[in-house]
Every structure is written in C-alpha cells, then in structure tokens.
Symmetry: D3
Subunit: 244 residues, 6 copies
C-alpha cells in the first residue's frame, strides 16, 4: 500500500476557532511541508460577532469580514480554508452538511483529523461540528455509502482545547510542542483584530501548556524554558510501535 500524503483536516464551527485552538498544530504540519485543510462550517456571524452587530453591520457584511479574517489567518499558517456557510447560533446537525463533509473526507483523504470536543455547555455549535466531523469520518470509510471519491481509512482524531476546558470534560492527553512555530501562531491571531482581547489570553494559555509540557516531558527531552504548547484529547487509542 503506497503511503498516503500527510494531510491534516480541521473541522470547526466558526471562522476563528482554528486559530485559537489549533493554530500551532496547523503551522507545525505546514512547516513540515504537509497539507492542511480547514473546514469552517459557519462564519460565526451571529454568535461570535457581537461588536459588529452592535456597530450596526449587516449579516452579509459580517460574514464577509469573518471570511476575510479567516482566509488571512489560514494564509499565515500555511493552510487552505473551505467555508460551508451553514449558519451559526445554532449550527444544526443535518444529513446534508454531514454528507458534504463525507465528500471532503473522500477528496482530501486526511491522515489526521482535528475538531471540537463533543461537550461544551457554553456553545452548542462546537459539539454540533464535532458530531458531524465524527459521523462523516465513519461514513466516508464505508464503501457502501454513496458519495464521490475513494473510501478513507480511519485517521486518528484529536479534540482541541475548548475555551472552558474544565466545564467541557477536557483534560490534556497530548501536549504538542509548538515553540518553533509560536511566532506564526501569534501572527495568525493578530489577523483577528475584533477579538484582540483574546491575543493575550491565548498567549498565556500557550505558555501555561508549555510549562505543563516541560513538567511531563521526562528526563530526555531537554525543552527550553520558553516553551509553548497546545493540548489535545484522543477519542480513539493511540497506535504505535514504541512506548515513549
């Protein structure tokens, strides 16, 4: 079996999610020359654009500005972004949108999938996106499911960190060292000026997860003291040929 090209698929609810929660993982994969495709199911036009609504912008204006920001950030990170414009607040779990995602899986043949947690009491759109990402992954692997393209293998899935981890049942199971691409992630965050208050928030989080990474890194890894990290969970077991 020929080895598939490494390709990370990121499925998110709103246009900014991939920057805060997985910007480091995306930049790291891209820095290794791998492809990354981001599926933004909505623009976050209703639930995550409060300041623009208050400023009297129209729905279409808001969508356009969120799209532009996301494209800019994806460009900085080295990824391609696809918009599904499915409508947020609430994002609904539908057969049609799940089917579109099956098509995307079969097109890009992902080797890694990143998405939200299935639990988030502060934002129901996140679990809805994760639900469809997981369902589509299974359907895309069934030869009997009627969609274009080759069936996919079952790529490993990682949940990225929600905004309120403890209330969403999130505990770090994987700590990813993103120190070498930290500046890139920071630049991508700065493509989202409307949420400027989150820049420092997620810089703090990156540093804090970096401290935790060093604490768990074991005797050999020798991480520098200025480490940044992102945290993930695995819904499926890790497969490996070496314990480390």
């Amino acid at each position: 079996m020929p080895e598939l090209t490494a390709h990370t698929l990121v499925v998110t609810a709103h246009a900014g999610d991939f920057v805060w929660r997985a910007g480091g993982a995306i930049a790291l994969a891209a820095s290794r020359g791998e492809r990354v495709t981001i599926a933004c199911l909505t623009f976050g036009e209703r639930g995550e654009s409060a300041s623009e609504w208050r400023a009297g912008r129209t729905l279409e204006e808001i969508k356009a500005s969120r799209r532009a920001e996301a494209e800019s950030a994806a460009g900085v990170l080295g990824a391609e972004v696809r918009f599904f414009d499915a409508g947020d607040y609430p994002l609904k779990v539908t057969d049609e949108l799940t089917h579109e995602l099956v098509g995307l899986y079969r097109e890009v043949q992902p080797t890694v999938v990143l998405t939200h947690t299935l639990e988030d009491p502060y934002n129901g759109d996140h679990p809805a996106a994760a639900r469809m990402a997981l369902d589509a992954r299974v359907l895309a692997g069934a030869i009997g499911y009627p969609a274009e393209g080759e069936v996919v293998g079952a790529p490993p899935v990682f949940y990225f960190e929600p905004h309120q981890p403890e209330q969403s049942g999130f505990a770090p199971e994987v700590l990813l060292d993103i120190t070498e691409v930290w500046d890139t992630k920071r630049k991508a965050m700065e493509c989202l000026p409307a949420q400027k208050h989150l820049w420092e928030y997620y810089t703090d989080l990156g540093r804090r997860r970096g401290v935790q990474l060093r604490r768990n890194a074991g005797p050999n890894l020798g991480f520098a003291s200025n480490t940044y990290a992102e945290a993930f969970m695995r819904p499926y077991p890790q497969v490996t040929d070496r314990l480390a």
Copy 2:
C-alpha cells in the same frame, strides 16, 4: 544535556506479571538494543502458586521455582530482573520498600516506566505495587530526598493491562504493535509451565488487541492481518512534537 540511554523500568507485584502483561513491550525495547530492568516485588509465592501449595511444596521451594521461571523468561525477553522478596498476599505499601525503589530509579535512570493499574478488585497486590512505583518516581526526582545516586527526570508511565480490565477501570489508550517480537513473547510465556492454561489465553488477548490496533491504525500504517498488540494506559499526558 546529553541524551540519556533508553532504559525501561518495569515494576511488578509477582514474578510472572511482566511476562503476560508487558512481555511484548520488553522484547521490543530489547530488540532495539535498549536496556530493560524488571523489579519483581514478590515471587507470587502465596497468591499465585496454588498448584504448588496443593502439591505440598514448602514456601522456600515455591519461591525458588518462581524465581527460576522469572529469570528464564526475562532472559528470553532480553531483560534483567531484580527480586525484592517483599512478601505477597498481601503485598504491603511500606516506606522501606518505596525507599528501595527510589534507589533503583536513581541507579537505572529510567526513560520509560511500566507498572500495574492503581485499581484491581481481584488482586490488591497489583495496586500496592503501582502505588509504590509511582511514589518512588516522584521521590527519586526530588534533590532533597536522601538516597544515593543522581535525581531522575520524570519518565513517562504506562499501566499495562490487568487480568480483568473492565472491572479495573482499564481502557486501552495506547496499542503497541508487538507483531515482530510475538514469537519471543510466546517463548517467554512457555517458561511458566505451571500456568500453561494462560498461554492460550494471552495469545488470544494479543491477537484481539492486534485486531483492535488495525481498526485504529488509520489510513497509512498498513498493518498485516496477523498482528499482535499489547494495550496500555497513560496516567500522564503524552508529550510530542507531532500529532499522529
């Protein structure tokens, strides 16, 4: 910081535990030329030697035979075994035994640690061994703790699979491909003739975990259909520079 030599430390309650539960992981590390040290806290002379007691053997005879079997199996796997003769059924958590383990940590400077789960309603010796393995790991890393040798870093820990996984809160988080050393593990099992009924049992388990490994291996790994695996849990987060 010079890179430490890879060294796996296995802390077990009874003389046979390392064969059934981690024989593949041990053989795999040894096959890469790495060192493996097994700490057997007891010989399993009371709780896991029923047939010999029924045959009227003395305590010392039973200990000697369990020791010989374990040494033989460790030799097949390519590991060194140390016996602590702390007495089983029950194995007690004591400061003295924990202190001895601190000494072993500082001596071997492990880069990976394998031990039992902290829960096992069928055999209290297993949680006792795990409790001391974990406590000693923390103490060995504190410069203020008075014991010989250099302090150790915090090596990653893996719990191996208990005999009754579902009743012990065990769910596979890591599936280790041991196909290439399967024959070695089987030979090590055959060093324990008194428990011959377990040979097939753990061969079945290895095959079943192998099937599960393939199911979770993703699109790229191309595992053959005749795969064997061992399952592990991680009490601490995985540290990595690549999601896979």
Copy 3:
C-alpha cells in the same frame, strides 16, 4: 449597570413538574417579593395522565384539567405560568420551540433559571425540556440571534431533582432550606388531586433533604429539627465573593 429585578424562570416538560421539584424554591422567591415565571412546555396530557385516559376522558378534556391544576398550584406558590402546548410523550426538541423560549428569556430577563436534568432514563421529555432551556439561554444572549427584546446575561442554572435521582446522575450540590414555605408547597401539591399518592412521597423527600441539609449545615446555622429542603445541581460554577 442598573441591577436587574430578580426574576426566576422555571422551564419544565409537564404541567405538574414545577410543583413536586421546585415548589419550595418558587414559593421562597415569591415570598421575597420576586417574580417567578413557569414555562410548561406541555400539559403532560399523554404520559402523566394515566387515570384520566383510563376513565375515558378526551385529549382536550385532559389538557384542560391539567392546565387548571397547574394554574391553581402556580397561584398558591405566587408564580405566573405560561403553557406552550408542544405535545408530550414524546416532547420533541425543535428549532421552533427553542425559538419561542428565546423570546421568553428576552422578555422576562431571568436572573435565575431552573430546569430538569439532561439525563433521565425514565422520561425522555425531561431531558428534552432541559436541552431547549439551555440552548435558548445561550441563544438569547447572542446579539446576532434574530429575536425580539434585549439580549440576556447568562443567569445561573439549577437542575431540580428528578423522580429517580440515582439513575439520572443526580447528586445534591445545593440544599435549599424551604422550611418557612413548606406549608405553601404542601398546599400547591394538594392542587393536584389526581396524583394524591405523590403528596406523601414528596413530603418524605422534603423531610429527608431537610435532614441532609442539617447534616451539612456547619456549625453556625442552627436549623431547627423540623427542616424541609429541596436539592439542586449546578451545571455552571457558582460565582461568589465569600466562601460559605
């Protein structure tokens, strides 16, 4: 920011739920001069009116009698009740009903919300009502969500006690002293003669939760021995300026 008027919103599946599960909390708020609005999503006409079906009553007759009982009980407690007549057994989670609830949130601007648990293996209508109560709370707070009225802040939520607490993942996290309004709750229960067998059942429960309250009340509270209480859970953290 001017302080909002205290206003408790109770979202329930069936017409009688608020009496058994939150009658004390409602009466207590009302006794302080605060407003309480109860949203009854259905009348409980199919699933909780067995005796009336056996007596050959029609659907409309049953609805009318459940409505009259609920209005009577709400009057005793000092609350206003709104009926949504969404149909029970099963109560369905729909966008339309959720939208109606968003409107109610924006109208009443609740400062506290009470609803069912998200889990109840004996009655799927309860989790359905809770699901919509929680979703509407988030949507009502998003300025981009298209509904009448001012957006709401995020009021604290309390789950009241289900009929089978242990099977519904319910453990008391908050014990509310309702001793001073107990007679009012009892009178409200007596507005539901068709479920007379529950009067003693919920009197016993109130007494038992009262005993538990005294056991947890600490050194200072001095509760009398004849205490009644209701139990609640919090899905979101408590915010306070004093540990007590």
Copy 4:
C-alpha cells in the same frame, strides 16, 4: 445558639501552598475582620526547595528559611500560621498527626475549611494533607473522641486549585472574586523569592479565573473587566436559603 465567630482554617502540606492556592480567600476573609489560621504540616524542605539543596544548604537552614517566608506571607495576608514539622516527601498519613489536627479544630472552631484535593498525581503530600484534614474534621465532631476542647460542628470544606488541575480531577465549582485583595495576594507571593517564576504564573491564573468568573457571573453582577479570581471545589453540598 450563639453565632460562632467566623474563622477559616487552612490545612496545607507545604509552607508555600497557602499563598499560591488560597492567598486571595485568606486575604478576603481577613479584610472582613475574620480570623484565619493556617496549618502547615511541613516546611516543604525536601520536595519544594530544590534550589536551596543545590546551593548546599542544610536541612535546618532550609526549614528556617521556608518558615520565615511563610510567616512573612501570612502576615501580609492577615493570618496566623502554625507549623507541624511532620516531614515532607513523603508526608505520611499518621494517627498522631491526625490527632494533632483534631486538637486544632477543637481549639479554633473553624466555620470554613480549605485544603488540597484528594487526588494529585504529581505530589502525594497534597492528598495526604487533605486526607488528614478531612478525617480530623469528622473526629473533632464526635463527642466520644478523646481530645481537649469542645466538639466542632461540620464546617463546609473547599478544595483549592492544584498545580495541575486537569490531571487531579479538579474542575472549578466555585469562583471567588478576589479582585479587591489582589494586590495583597501579589505582595504575599513576593514574600517567596525562591519561587519567583511562579509569581507570573499565578498572576496569569488569577486573571484567567477572573475571566471565567465574569463569563459565569450572570446578568446582574457587573464585574469590572480587570477581575481576579480563585477556583474551588466543594466535597459536600452547599447549604443556602437562596438560589443565586
């Protein structure tokens, strides 16, 4: 029953714990004129004084310096500190030390108790301290238990936040607004110069818990944007006469 004087009892493993984890709660109680007594079961002389061991200091010198720092920090916060010098790494659960704590409970008659979580895979001394704090609380309330002083009521208990919350089963259940005493907490942290790297770490944490507090504060509380908070868990139900 005369109302007891408010008195917070803080039971910690090492001399610095109360500053990082509960300095805000302590300062807040003190600022209301209430008494706070801190029980430091050890000085943290072995496990949390790495730099001093590396500098060749003796055990007694290290204990003295940890004691001086803790007294200084307690003074800033407005609390009294008692040292038990029970020896750390490992702190052992013993009948004798539990008995001493019973005496302290009966002496100070606490109305609130703060301690560690019962789970902490990075530091076994913390669960040991919590275990004894909880056991002593129950024993101190039994008239038949032979110790000096009056029996105590059952004061509410709060677990403060461990260094690795997600790995210790910690999720914020109570968010305490410490904004008004933040400067005091910061000054107390600065009494611990050997752990200067933690000043910023716990300042970040305070700010992050403050953000979370605002997110959960509901419509009425009007917290300023520059809010600091500490997080706690409750092992026992909250008793109240008002849902809020």
Copy 5:
C-alpha cells in the same frame, strides 16, 4: 394478574448484530421454550457489506443476501426476525421508526429487552437503534400514547456487548452462562459466511467471558472449565427477592 408469557425482544441496528452479540441469550431463551422476536432495523447493507460492494453487487442484491443470512441464523437460534428496512449508514432516529417499534412492543408484550449500548464511537447506527428501543419502551407503556394494542409494563433492559467494549463505556455487569447452547450459537454464526473472520473472534470472546464467569461465580456454582458466556449491562436496577 396473570403471568405474561416470557418473550424476549431484541432490537438491533443491522442484520448480523443479534448473532454475534446475543446469539447465546436468544438460544438459551428458546431452549426453555420461550419466544424471541428480533427487530432488525436495517440490513446492514451499506456499512457492513464491504466485500459485496467491492464485488459489484447491487443494493437490492445485498439486502436480499443479508436478509437470507439473518433468517437462517434466527432459525438456527429458534427466534423470529422482523425487518424494518430503515436504511443504514446512517440509521436515523425518527419519530416514524420509533412509532413502529411502539407497535411491536405492544404486539409482543416483551418481558425482557436486549439492545445496543447508547455509546459506540465506531458505529453510530448502534446508539441510534438503542435510543429508539429505549424511547419506544417508555412510550409503549403510556396509555395516552396513540398506538394499537395493550400498554406494556416496563421490562428489564440489557445492553449486549459492542465490538469495542472499552471504547464504548461497556463493562460486564451480568455474565450469562451459554455453555449449553454454545454449539447452537456457533452454528448461527456459520450462517454468516461473509464475515467468516468473526467466527473465531467471537468464539474467543465467548471463551474469555466464560473464564471471567468462572472467576466470579462464587463458591457454589461449579461451572465446568469449558464454559462460554455473554456479557451484558443493565441500564435499570435489578429487581429480585434474593441476593445471589
């Protein structure tokens, strides 16, 4: 009240599920002269027929062959099978299909119900079938629910073992001794030649659960060493007049 005839209702997603997961329970009930009805909600035509799709078979051909296999296996076990042809991958939770199941409950008046777990990250059709089996059981017991037939009592429910138990939150709570009907279960498995690789897999599982049964069987039961078992969970409490 006249005693109802024992009647086991098995609700499954795909045509083969009942054989692997509950073939022993079915054969055992049939061997006692009891009736067993199996509801196959789909044929498994898309998700569990990969080899036939690769061989270029049409949808109708595949359905027909799955139906024939299932009828053959049911005949061997001594049960009747009903097909609902609701479409798999994904099987959708709908009001219509739930209503059909209510009709089946009222028709067969089951005294025991077997179905899938509510959690299965590898196959969403299984939780969907379980969801409808549980909802229909509650609705069928409500006199107000408009469907033909007598209302049913609340029969005990058992979840059978999923293919990936640990990842589906499955731990054996009931171990059923199926030794005496093992040959019948094996023959039923052999009616499914397209999944021949599962014959040995489920034979191993039966043997392994049999070993576990002996380990938990207590002093009196005297099970032979060649024991086979199936594992189940109970979502509702067991009701009994004897602890054993």
Copy 6:
C-alpha cells in the same frame, strides 16, 4: 462438588449498621432457613453514641449497651453476631484485623457477603470496614495464605446503602423486595432506642425503595402497592443462567 450451605456474611463497622442497612436482607435469608453471621468490627462506642457520652456514661458502659442492643436486634432478625472490638473513630485498617476476618471467612464459608461502600465522606470507618472485608475475601481464597480452615470460593459481594448515598457514589443496582419481612426489620430497629429518630427515617427509605422497585419490576412481577425494599450495589459482575 457438593453444594455449600447458604451462609450470608455481613461485615460492618459499628454495632447498629446491619439493622438500618441490611436488616431486610438478613431477615429474608433467615426466613429461608439460611445462616447469617454478622461481624461488627466495633461497637460504635465513640462515633455513634453521642447521647450516651453527653449523659456521662463510661466507655465500657457504652460498649456494653451497644453490644446488648446489637445482640437483641440480631436475635430478632435470626442472625448470629460476632464482635471484634477494634475501636471506632477511627476504625483503622490493620493486618491483624484483616487476618481475623480471613479466619472468619474460612470458618463460615460464606456464599454471599454484604458490606459498606468503599466511599463515604461522612464516616471513614465504613470504607475501612469495607476495605478489610474485601481484602480478607481475596486472601481467604488463596491456598498459600497461612490461616486455619479451608480456602473459600469467591462469594458475590453486595454493598448496602450508606446514609448519604449520593455523596458516597451509591446508586441502586439491585432492589431487594423485603416486604414479607418488613415487620421483622421494624422490630429489629426498635431494639435500638437511642436512635429512635432513625426508625421513621429508615421506614421512609424502605417505602421509597419499594416504590422504586415497583417502577423497575417489569410487566410480570405484580408487586403489591405496599412494598418495602433495600438497595445494593455489586462491585463484581452478576453470574446467571437467565436474563431477568
């Protein structure tokens, strides 16, 4: 293998525990002509005799009165009681007491074991008793463990209901119908006049568990409306040859 005589072993911390928590199960077994032996590890002389301490009774007087009450209640129920006088508040887990229990297991050869839950934040003596009951059960089954008598099989274990079930992780898994021996349990409770306030409390609990039993009893059991029950949990899987 000759069938062992049915013999229930009840291991409790204090002299009154068996009456409130398992009086029905004991009376039911005795009413079938089976033997029941109760091991009271302490008299409850310190922690559960507050009124007698306040009345100025001596330790020996209190022990004697608790013993007399327990013997009287055991007589009513039809059981034999053994006292170990190990000292309560705190009851300590020791090798010596565990060894004594091993002797008791080997003497009575229990076919069923009842004990406390392993978790109880209100009373540490209960988990201590349970811990020793479980450890002794395993040790008594090991031929190598040096104690008098024949090794025992592994009898099923049931945890009875603690006083604060929800805070002790207790959810009913088995509901035992004790209606026919209810009067006997009530008489046994009345042998404990010092805790008269608990008579009604546990009568209410018995009635409430009885209501729950009827709700879960299924279509066939026909329980009368005046049903009493006790609730239990199983730490080990149930072994059966019939699903019901």
